[in-house]
Symmetry: C2
Subunit: 266 residues, 2 copies
DNA sequence: CAGTGGTCTAGACCACAAG
DNA sequence: TTGTGGTCTAGACCACTGG
């Protein structure tokens, strides 16, 4: 499933093992206007986001941190509580406090519906790779991914299918720097975001998405088995990792007759 | 702007004024497995959602509630804190705790872009009402709005424009029961959700939205000044108020060349 | 069993708003 | 000045986990 090259890449990722080191106690300002729990929260957040921690990594306990910072346990509790609310940490009674598994549970598939109208969940869409190459980026891609001059991208064109029915045609751009070796992997039956996280240490934390109605051009019509001019949904996505850095750019063209995008506004 | 009829409706809305009454102290179970702060939170939530409170309504203070429930102030703080996180309450230092203004800041307009690509914010789109009538609902509308047999709906078809450019054609359905008098109002330069809240006591709290790419039919093409077959975005929205009750159903058809839907996935 | 987080108390002191 | 919420402390007791 993963080539030898890719496995080697995986080992090169520097993950800090064991317990997360204590933040620097001396950086706490007891007299300033910023509350203690806020300062402590920021210090922890800085540590968590500055490195590629393994998910499920253990934090020091409440008592340890309280002692280290010379504050009350309640103050640590409050800092932790906010980080839990923000999805950064997870607390488990009797066990400890851990770094939350970055979850991004928008599977591409949940936006599709089938003829009957039923939404298909839990089904893994298959991918048929049409093109995969390493290439200099176009100006637009360079800007979106904030690439240095000379940096190249891994470019993939693939068709996504469910039950052998083509659903969407996708162009995908990844910075070569972060994803070297990706082009040699077999991703035909895998979801990409778990691969980014597991094999390249790049969890996807959030994404911008732009939707526009369009009509199929010749290429899209051919691959999606529809007619030129049929309605399609153009989905542009910019996915981000730690520090809001963009790491993936995709442009999908979804079959209009099978596409239904559902969202909840709050 | 508002007809006499509509003003009369407004006065009929029963809003509880002054300070929110204390929840029933006797409903607290000090021995059960459910934490005290959780029980108190649920009681408050029940009160807030059961009636049409004015926004900005004052809650009893921490000390008063702590005394009323015979619990510590910290317990009340924790209950309040969670409700603040959920957007139900707002706390203001030195003043008190208040019911949060139900905010639903998705203005229709923010999803459009203009030729240059600039997004237009803060501009109020105009409406041109094409049809407005009170009618028995179709089966589909009846189901979506969960209407009793015999209940009628206010049906409106309108064109939405920005800078005199038609952007979207909209069908809108409201239950006559809640919105009696709406059909006599002039809504050509107003946003609807503030009207629902202010004049009918029905704040919109959240909405389901479904997007599909389509091609313009004759009617849409005519009103949107495009050609039959041009791409359009079909936007179906079901808007909800307290207790997740659906109170508005709209089906919009947006001009494809001016429509760009942006969302952030987390 | 020892150690973890979860709940709860009863205080203290502060910053802020309003009369 | 009074009352509000915001922060912080130093405890207590509990429920859960793991060895």
């Amino acid at each position: 499933m993963i080539s030898g090259e890719a496995v080697k890449m995986k080992k090169n990722i520097s993950k800090i093992k064991g317990i997360i080191p204590f933040p620097d106690k001396n950086r706490i300002d007891f007299k300033g206007p910023l509350p203690l729990y806020r300062q402590i929260k920021d210090l922890i957040l800085e540590q968590v986001h500055s490195e590629c921690w393994d998910f499920e990594e253990a934090m020091p306990s409440e008592n340890e941190l309280a002692a280290a910072f010379s504050v009350s346990v309640g103050t640590i509790k409050k800092a932790f509580a906010e980080l839990v609310h923000e999805g950064v940490l997870v607390r488990r009674q009797g066990r400890g406090t851990f770094i939350a598994r970055p979850s991004f549970n928008r599977s591409f598939i949940r936006f599709f519906r089938f003829a009957g109208g039923e939404v298909t969940e839990n089904e893994i869409p298959a991918s048929r790779v049409i093109n995969m190459e390493i290439t200099p980026p176009t100006e637009g891609v360079r800007e979106v991914l904030r690439l240095e001059p000379g940096e190249r991208v891994i470019y993939m064109k693939r068709l996504r299918l469910l039950r052998d029915i083509p659903l969407a045609l996708e162009d995908l751009y990844l910075p070569e720097k972060r994803f070297a070796g990706f082009e040699k992997m077999d991703i035909s039956h895998e979801l990409l975001y778990p691969i980014y996280a597991k094999d390249f240490g790049v969890p996807i934390l959030w994404a911008d998405e732009y939707l526009e109605p369009r009509q199929a051009n010749e290429e899209a019509a051919f691959h999606l088995s529809i007619n030129v001019g049929d309605p399609i949904m153009r989905i542009e996505r910019i996915a981000h990792t730690y520090r809001d850095e963009p790491v993936e750019y995709r442009i999908g063209l979804g079959r209009g007759d099978r596409f239904r995008y559902h969202l909840v506004l709050r």
